[in-house]
């Protein structure tokens, strides 16, 4: 099972970080305004940015 496990983390480590970041973003703006809002923009901005970067044609 060893090689499989390595595979798992290799594939899922980045998506997991993004998932946690989005979750923090979704939650933070519920807690307050100002800095909390800004945190949520970062948390939701990262997945939006990564997706759009993938869509743009590379040269």
């Amino acid at each position: 099972m060893k090689p499989r496990q390595t595979n798992f983390w290799k594939v899922f480590s980045t998506p997991l970080v993004i998932a946690l970041l989005s979750a923090a973003g979704l939650f933070s703006a519920l807690l307050g305004d100002g800095i909390w809002d800004a945190l949520s923009w970062v948390g939701l901005g990262v997945p939006a940015y990564l997706a759009i970067r993938g869509l743009l044609p590379r040269n």
Partner: protein, 374 residues
């Protein structure tokens, strides 16, 4: 992962998403303008402008506002008064033929809290935005429509989970974010489907689950009426119907006395879905940012104005309260709305590319679902 396991997950992913795709596309497309409904209503000139008056202009009391409302729509009764933080000089007013009239037959407008002048809110009673909202909420099919959409939302969640499981075999040999652009259109869209799907995962799950909860709101409210409300008003079970109501004048002060840390959100008049036949229900929201989405009803006897009970909030009503901001994306300013719209469009792309990949796969002679082995 064994190829048999992959085939099973692939089957689940294909069919859960295919069944819900049409509905999800409808939801995502109608949801897009709804994110900006406030701004659109302003642009269309449908948002009432409360008149500029000196800041210390005294406000009418609630009984005077009820009177103003009844003068504005003779023959109707007030169902609800709503209070908004960003417009303290206006009271959202909902009236109908009877207190028990269902929401879609009610009439919504604003009352100037200082003059009692009625300001119409056309977008709350008809027009394009309400049409889009009804499409989004129940497709004009009432409770069955809502429940169908809730079921589609559940399928969407299944599609997201199975898609995440499949992400592993598909991406085993690829760096995160790889988009193969030069091989074939199918590979490019497969990579994009995987990339956009996995980065929008959390957002889509949260919006999906909170949408399902909101779609079940009618059932949750009915459950709340059945257990919590019925228990609170048990002593009134055999009381005769009220012939006249005590004036609403002091309702907010009475509610603030028993819930001093909270602020009023709305008042449900006797006989509506959020109150009993014998009570005014003042719904108080929490005083902090987080708890401002959680409502506590204060039931006030509509003939003696004594507080009958301060409601406890069952967990499902809290879930319903928290679902609203997390579904609407209206709690983090304009940048959040723009991100919400972006993620919504990205979800449309994931849905569309999913259908495209399925069509291309079907056209190919061999329908073996073992991409991963390639």
């Amino acid at each position: 992962m064994k190829s048999k396991t992959i085939r099973r997950w692939s089957f689940i992913h294909t069919w859960s998403s295919l069944i819900c795709t049409v509905f999800l596309l409808l939801l995502a497309l109608t949801g897009l303008p709804l994110i900006f409904h406030h701004e659109i209503e302003h642009l269309l000139g449908d948002a009432p402008q409360v008149r500029e008056m000196p800041a210390d202009t005294p406000r009418l009391n609630l009984a005077q506002l009820v009177e103003a409302a009844e003068k504005h729509r003779p023959g109707d009764v007030v169902q609800y008064f709503g209070f908004e933080d960003d417009e303290p000089n206006a009271v959202l007013t909902i009236m109908a033929k009877t207190a028990g009239t269902e929401p879609n037959s009610s009439h919504t407008f604003m009352l100037d809290a200082r003059t009692g002048e009625a300001l119409e809110t056309p977008s709350a009673n008809g027009g394009l935005m309400l049409f889009i909202l009804r499409l989004h909420v129940d497709m004009f099919a009432g409770l069955p429509g809502k429940l169908l959409l809730a079921f589609m939302g559940l399928l969407f969640v299944v599609a997201i989970i199975s898609g995440t499981v499949l992400y592993l075999p598909f991406m085993r040999r690829l760096q995160f974010g790889t988009v193969r652009q030069d091989k074939s259109s199918r590979l490019r869209w497969l990579d994009l489907h995987n990339l956009i799907g996995v980065v929008t995962l959390t957002w889509a799950l949260v919006v999906g689950v909170t949408g399902v909860i909101s779609a079940c709101a009618d059932l949750l409210i009915a459950a709340w009426r059945n257990d919590t409300l019925t228990a609170m008003v048990a002593p009134y079970r055999d009381a005769p119907p009220l012939t006249r109501l005590a004036p609403a004048t002091r309702l907010l002060d009475i509610a603030r006395d028993v819930a001093p840390e909270m602020n009023p959100d709305f008042i449900a008049f006797p006989g509506t879905r959020f109150s009993s036949e014998h009570h005014y229900a003042v719904f108080m929201k929490g005083g902090t940012h987080l708890t401002s989405h959680l409502l506590t009803p204060v039931l006030i006897d509509a003939s003696t104005l004594q507080v009958t009970a301060v409601g406890e909030r069952p967990w499902y009503m809290d879930a319903m309260g928290m679902s609203q901001p997390l579904h609407f994306g209206d709690y983090g300013g304009m940048p959040m709305k723009i991100l919400w719209a972006t993620l919504d469009v990205l979800t449309i792309i994931v849905l569309g590319s999913g259908v495209y990949l399925w069509v291309v796969r079907r056209r190919a002679a061999k329908p073996l679902p073992t991409e991963a082995a390639a």
